[in-house]
Assembly symmetry: C2
Homo-oligomer: 423 residues x 2
């Protein structure tokens, strides 16, 4: 039986959103980043917000336990945002921790127990050496049947990518084109960890070679740069360095309120019209590696609740932890048929000026992927785009009334999807 999508007992709206800069910050802990995101969120509320008005806090966090030796992060974030003694709850769903925390915030308001809830996500990842970060992330896979057998996430997604190539005829270049697009968007996002296009990176490397008197590589197009194993080495074939999202420190917050009081806080609130969540078996147990059941289940719930179809969604932030993940995402969401996602990307349909702009923020690939914060960061982008406040990366020529976020944990053990409407 597929989980039913029901109406919420009362509506919920978004009246504020903000994030810290994403990047590598040796001097900052997850709590510093969270406070930064909260400050940005408070400033984004049109009519202002007093911490006294906030009744509860939900925090998405994958594993400060392993990254910082700090479990029980929710009351710490409550303390650093002035919310003690309000209820503060950590929700964890690997890289979907943020999305799942948002869902809990929505359900809590719908339950009638709160009117105003702060939801945030935070992760401090760069404090460990890279190999330990890889091991820490592998704890989100099945530690008994996957991580213990040597699988880490580049390998798991590489298995999905090769299955996708074999089934649908996609090539390495198709994956690279996802990265090129997302870096183009991220280059326009001042909060992105890598706010540089692949062209910027390529030209800067050529310029450095020139200055050093080294032979200048013969890259003409961005794809030449990405196909060069010196510039873009293989991590786990067919996933190369620029197919992988980076290791990131960052935090993001949103402020949710009961729909009937949204205008007390915002002159232009964004309404939550759909929420969906699903789970799946670990990757080693699945029959088909080219799709993610939890995402399809969650999408179905969210669409049903919102009463909309994939065609109605104008922009989406999807979970591109690896480039292959974006292709699978846009197919699971019904934007494109199975096996058609890579063709659509190649045709430019998912570009910022395409028919269905995907990851205008730069995505996890370019904006950065502080895992517990990423799902909340997606909503920050939707907030800006829907209100026409996305600056240089504002989607051109669209009055955005319906947008979607898609947040995946691990290889899809968890997926949380939300649909937002501007009225």
């Amino acid at each position: 039986m597929s989980p039913r999508a029901r109406k919420l007992a009362r509506g919920v709206a978004l009246v504020g959103a903000g994030m810290s800069k994403f990047g590598a910050f040796p001097d900052k802990t997850s709590r510093d980043l969270f406070a930064e995101a909260f400050t940005a969120t408070a400033k984004s509320v049109d009519k202002g917000i007093d911490t006294d008005d906030i009744e509860a806090l939900y925090v998405g966090n994958f594993s400060s336990d392993l990254f910082e030796g700090q479990g029980h992060v929710a009351p710490i974030m409550a303390d650093w945002t002035g919310l003690v003694p309000k209820p503060a709850t950590r929700v964890e769903g690997a890289c979907a921790s943020g999305g799942v925390a948002i869902r809990e915030g929505i359900l809590a308001i719908a339950s009638g127990i709160y009117d105003v809830v702060l939801v945030g996500g935070t992760e401090k990842m760069t404090g460990l050496p890279t190999d330990q970060v890889t091991d820490t992330l592998a704890a989100a896979s099945d530690a008994v049947y996957e991580a213990a057998c040597g699988f880490s996430f580049p390998g798991l997604y590489a298995a999905m990518a090769t299955a996708y190539m074999a089934k649908y005829g996609a090539t390495e270049e198709h994956f690279m084109k996802v990265g090129i697009k997302n870096h183009h968007n991220g280059a326009l996002n001042p909060k992105a960890q890598f706010n540089k296009s692949i062209r910027d990176l390529m030209e800067s490397r050529m310029e450095k070679a020139r200055q050093k008197g080294d032979p200048v590589p013969e890259w003409r197009e961005e794809i030449d740069f990405l196909k060069d194993p010196k510039a873009n080495p293989v991590v786990a074939w067919p996933m190369r360095l620029f197919d992988c999202s980076p290791i990131t420190d960052g935090a993001a917050c949103i402020l949710l309120v009961a729909e009937d009081i949204a205008r007390d806080f915002s002159t232009d609130p964004i309404y939550v019209v759909g929420t969906g969540q699903g789970s799946d078996h670990a990757l080693h147990e699945r029959e088909d590696l080219t799709t993610i059941t939890s995402a399809k289940v969650a999408a179905q719930q969210a669409y049903e609740m919102a009463g909309v179809t994939p065609e109605d969604i104008q922009i989406a932030e999807v979970h591109d932890c690896f480039t292959i993940a974006e292709l699978i995402a846009i197919e699971c969401l019904g934007f494109f048929k199975p096996g058609e996602g890579y063709k659509a990307t190649e045709e430019g349909l998912t570009a910022r000026d395409g028919a269905k702009p995907i990851n205008t923020s730069g995505g996890l690939k370019s904006k950065g992927h502080p895992v517990g914060a990423s799902g909340v960061g997606q909503v920050v982008e939707i907030w800006h785009q829907m209100r026409g406040e996305a600056g240089a990366r504002q989607v051109p020529g669209k009055d955005i009334r319906l947008a979607l976020t898609h947040n995946v944990g691990a290889t899809g053990g968890t997926c949380a999807i939300h649909i937002f409407q501007r009225r």
Copy 2:
């Protein structure tokens, strides 16, 4: 502003509850234990339950990340209980993870999105050496300002205990009496890790000495045994070994449904009439170490929602991770005035046959404390007691209509309180 207690948009009832045996199980992982608890829960449902009927799963877990190298536990528990692709969400609040997961399950049903929710808690702790367990638990304190300065939980609670002694004149013996009481109860609980009274333990040690031809200790009363530093060494004064709850593997589950369908599952459902949650600063920031603000705040919310007073509560399971914690708990809950908890315990008021029976299960002290599962385990005891199914430890001479559970995370950074009614 104290968090408001509101009515839930719809009522929620408990129609099943069960737990694994608590103890040390070298061959079992957290998922094995969870499956065991789920099986016991399914069996406890009067009219039976089909996994197809269950719409979502909430899992309380402190840190399988650190204990087992396994983050993202919720979809794994969903897999092992046949619930994939239903939404599966991990909730973490240190040792209150179970209680907070229950609250999320309640709010989710009240929101209208689900009718039937499984809530469980699980923790596998004994796979690590004891010193690493202590370090792992210390991650629930403030890792920057407490753990990093050498504080672990026996030390933190010892600080609270010495403050309590100084302020109210309690002695070490008063703490010991909490342990004696709880071991008396646990001796009657076949699922308890230590289902032995202090007298049983004492007599067995004397018998062993006799058999070996060693000098037999001159213990006459249980308190003599606990005062003997050889039998009961100091861990962090005034907390001795028998003031500390053990390191435990275990899991527990409950089945929650919307109130209007409770009789479809149970001939004798138990209704959730109050829920409360609060947060607090880390211990080093507090002005008063003898009380826990999050517990007082959570209790106030739960009492208000239920429309009852502390006097109305007939039995309670409270968070006795250390003996001092039980004394603070029964004061925060308003059962006894500040500084009167130790006198009430000495007078036998909290004994199984006393006026206000506390921890009839044996409490964390004797039943065991698999941290993420403990809050759910408390509700399992309430379920049995309220339905008159607690066997040898059934509270005598009481028709239990109102009961309470009190679950604390760390030194009170989180507290979740629930009130249950039998109609």
